[in-house]
Amino acid sequence: MTAPTTATDVNQPSLEHAPPAGRRMSWPVLCLVIAGALALTSLVRLITGADGITNVSQMSTALQLAVPIGLAGLGGLWAERAGVVNIGLEGMMILGTWFGAWAGFQWGPWTGVLVGLIGGALGGLLHAIVTVTFNVNHIVSGVAINILALGATRYLAPLAFEGRSGGSAKQSPAVDSLGHFTVPGLSDGLSDLNDKGWFFVSDVAGLLGGLVTNVSWLTLIAVALVPATWWILWRTAFGLRLRSCGENPIAAESLGVNVYKYKYLAVIISGALAGLGGVFLSIVANPFYLEGQTSGRGYIGLAAMIFGNWMPGGLAIGAGLFGYTDSLNLRGGSANVHALLLLGALLLVIGAIWLAVRKKYVNAVITLVVGALVFAWYAGTNEVPNQVVSATPYVITLVVLALSAQRLRMPKADGMPYRKGQGK
């Protein structure tokens, strides 16, 4: 009896395992991969002596830089899951920075958070009106919103900030801090452990230490929003309906879902999240609004979301990667970056071996050659220009997209125009 069943099991292309390998990793595998990456980083740290790469303060900076990118990415996720491409995230973030600081310096930082959120949501509402009601191309509308938000804040900033103490036409007066917290005991202990320089243990301690030392309350909220988004979108009826609008609005409509309503809600929430990312920049990362503060983070958030395959977890990893490379740049550490070249070379070699095992010999050889070149770069130089570091996240995103674009799956009706009753 047993033999035939196994045979059919093997031959049957079962539905659960239909997605290509690597798309959906189980938790143990994911943990193993992360642990492996950490171990490799640790090894590189020991070889090169660049202690900075897994430092507590390095990790804490990385987290702070990752938060606005992650929030923008979450904003993109909400909109795109409902089928609306939101390239106006940048503009909504700009609105968030301005409104957050404007309310923040007058009525306290928490009011600033709320008002910044509303500012972003207003940008989202405008995007929803233009794309959902008027059915304009989503990208075009987003670009227009970016221009408009930039102009509006540049126009409003002198009116609101000039003449106040510490304010100018391009900068707002200082906003009070939201407050930080450091988990007592744990932070010091991890910091001590991190200083020991032990293989692996110290690196894990550095990573965890960054998560519990000097964390802003807004950071905590932002981190909590990732699982919260996952739960709402994938575990509630509301989320299912919202996602159905992004996958097949006509089918959703036939089941009685008010597609317009869900699209509107999703895009407004998307704007609010991007606005929150902006607030983080103008209240937590800096205690003031500064013109050009977002510097393209909205676009990077979008990239992080695509990198993460339109899933909250992947998005968080993408944002973390961007934040980490940004922090390397910010904290100088040319030596640290140089050390990471070795890590890159090692990763490429491992990738080549993996490809060879999977019998993709041509790709394996190419990867190996690239790895060798990176190693030669590492061996032949003593430091790396800063610009290489600032370009790294973008190059990585391009490479990841090039390698996995066919495996990425965006919501099926993402960016498509929709009219009620068009399926009849």
Partner: protein, 373 residues
């Protein structure tokens, strides 16, 4: 056909006119809301347009906007969104500046060399996105956004003194270009000089029209943009068209920074204008991807740019012009869409009425012009 033409022209004009009116009204509301006179700023800006030195500035600025918008428009005609024009023109201008500072040929060779450098740099940078799209299916929107960011890093790297950079005070430059590569301006007396490469912008516009409307390639391009599957069925390779359109778009984008580089600054410094690529998107939309429309849109944009600084002297903030640009783009896209849907509905009603009256179907089928040619 003749009978319909007048209404189609009306429809085509209605979009931008409604949009501009709405944008002006909305900006006036913004002005009233901030406690200012809603009419005077516009009066001041219109007055500015009458001064010949401002006119020269407007024409110069518009030439760059025009070229950038043409680059975007080529993509739009093919349903491609080249958001990377910004990175392409900056990188291309920088490469041209670097080549111009190091190579020193006679002017007859130097100028073509610089133009080609810019064209190839722009095409190379957009070509990366094109190749990724064709071979790996990467969305050109995301790829070009990434390439913009990489271009910024690359430019900062090339500004380093040990690469191609020359420090002038606090400013990063690429060093002065050799004079053989300078393009003399058209002297307008006291008003200043019009960049010589404004002529290039005009030629590009004519070339754009000829290629798109009078060649087989242009037809293929527009057909692929209108319906990729239909074009593929008639023997046009969509992949080849995507790559060609992307390369062409990047090549034109590469020229966008040259009027000011070869006509005025002669070096690529921190003061070099940025963001022209993004503005080009709005201008291409406003001009409906037509070479004449884009020319008007570019002049309008340049006017808003160059006439607005005067507002600062009269107690207004010149940023109102940026708000206007944003409002114009937004109301333009909305009104185009609304007018288009209205036109479609009208036509449907008309055809329905004619069918009911027993006319032959298809005699007045104007919207299917692409397929009908």
């Amino acid at each position: 056909m003749k009978k319909f033409d007048k209404e189609r022209v009306l429809l085509a004009v209605a979009g931008p006119v409604i949009a501009l009116a709405v944008a002006f009204v909305l900006s006036a509301i913004v002005l009233i809301a901030s406690g200012k006179n809603p009419v005077e700023p516009f009066a001041l800006m219109f007055e500015q347009a009458g001064f010949s030195d401002i006119q020269v500035l407007i024409v110069n600025q518009a030439s760059m906007y025009y070229i950038a918008a043409l680059a975007v428009a080529i993509g739009f005609r093919m349903n491609l969104f080249n958001i990377g024009v910004d990175g392409q023109y900056q990188l291309a201008a920088m490469m041209a500046a670097v080549v111009g500072a190091h190579a020193n040929l006679p002017a007859a060779l130097q100028v073509p060399l610089l133009l080609l450098t810019a064209v190839f740099t722009g095409a190379f940078w957009s070509g990366i996105a094109g190749v990724l799209k064709v071979t790996r299916g990467v969305s050109e929107v995301v790829a070009t956004i990434m390439l913009n960011a990489i271009a910024t890093s690359l430019i900062v790297y090339m500004w380093k003194p040990d690469v191609f950079g020359v420090k002038v005070g606090n400013n990063n430059t690429t060093g002065e270009m050799h004079e053989s590569g300078w393009i003399p301006g058209i002297d307008m007396g006291a008003a200043g000089e019009i960049y010589g490469l404004v002529i290039l912008a005009v030629l590009l516009g004519i070339g754009y029209w000829i290629v798109l409307n009078r060649t087989r390639f242009g037809f293929d391009l527009r057909a692929s943009g209108a319906s990729e599957s239909a074009a593929a069925a008639s023997g046009v390779s969509p992949k080849r068209m995507v790559l060609t359109a992307m390369l062409l778009s990047g090549a034109i984008a590469g020229l966008a920074g040259l009027p000011i580089l070869l006509g005025d600054t002669h070096t690529y410094s921190l003061n070099f204008p940025t963001g022209i690529g993004f503005l080009g998107i709005g201008i291409a939309l406003l001009g409906r991807n037509s070479p004449v429309g884009i020319a008007f849109a570019a002049l309008l944009w340049a006017w808003l740019d160059k006439a607005s600084p005067e507002l600062d002297f009269h107690g207004y903030d010149k940023e109102i012009a940026v708000i206007m640009q944003g409002l114009i783009v937004l109301s333009v896209v909305v009104s185009y869409e609304a007018v288009r849907e209205w036109g479609l509905r009208r036509q449907q009603r008309r055809v329905g009425a004619e069918l009911a009256a027993g006319h032959v179907l298809g005699a007045n089928n104007t919207t299917k012009e692409v397929a009908g040619r």
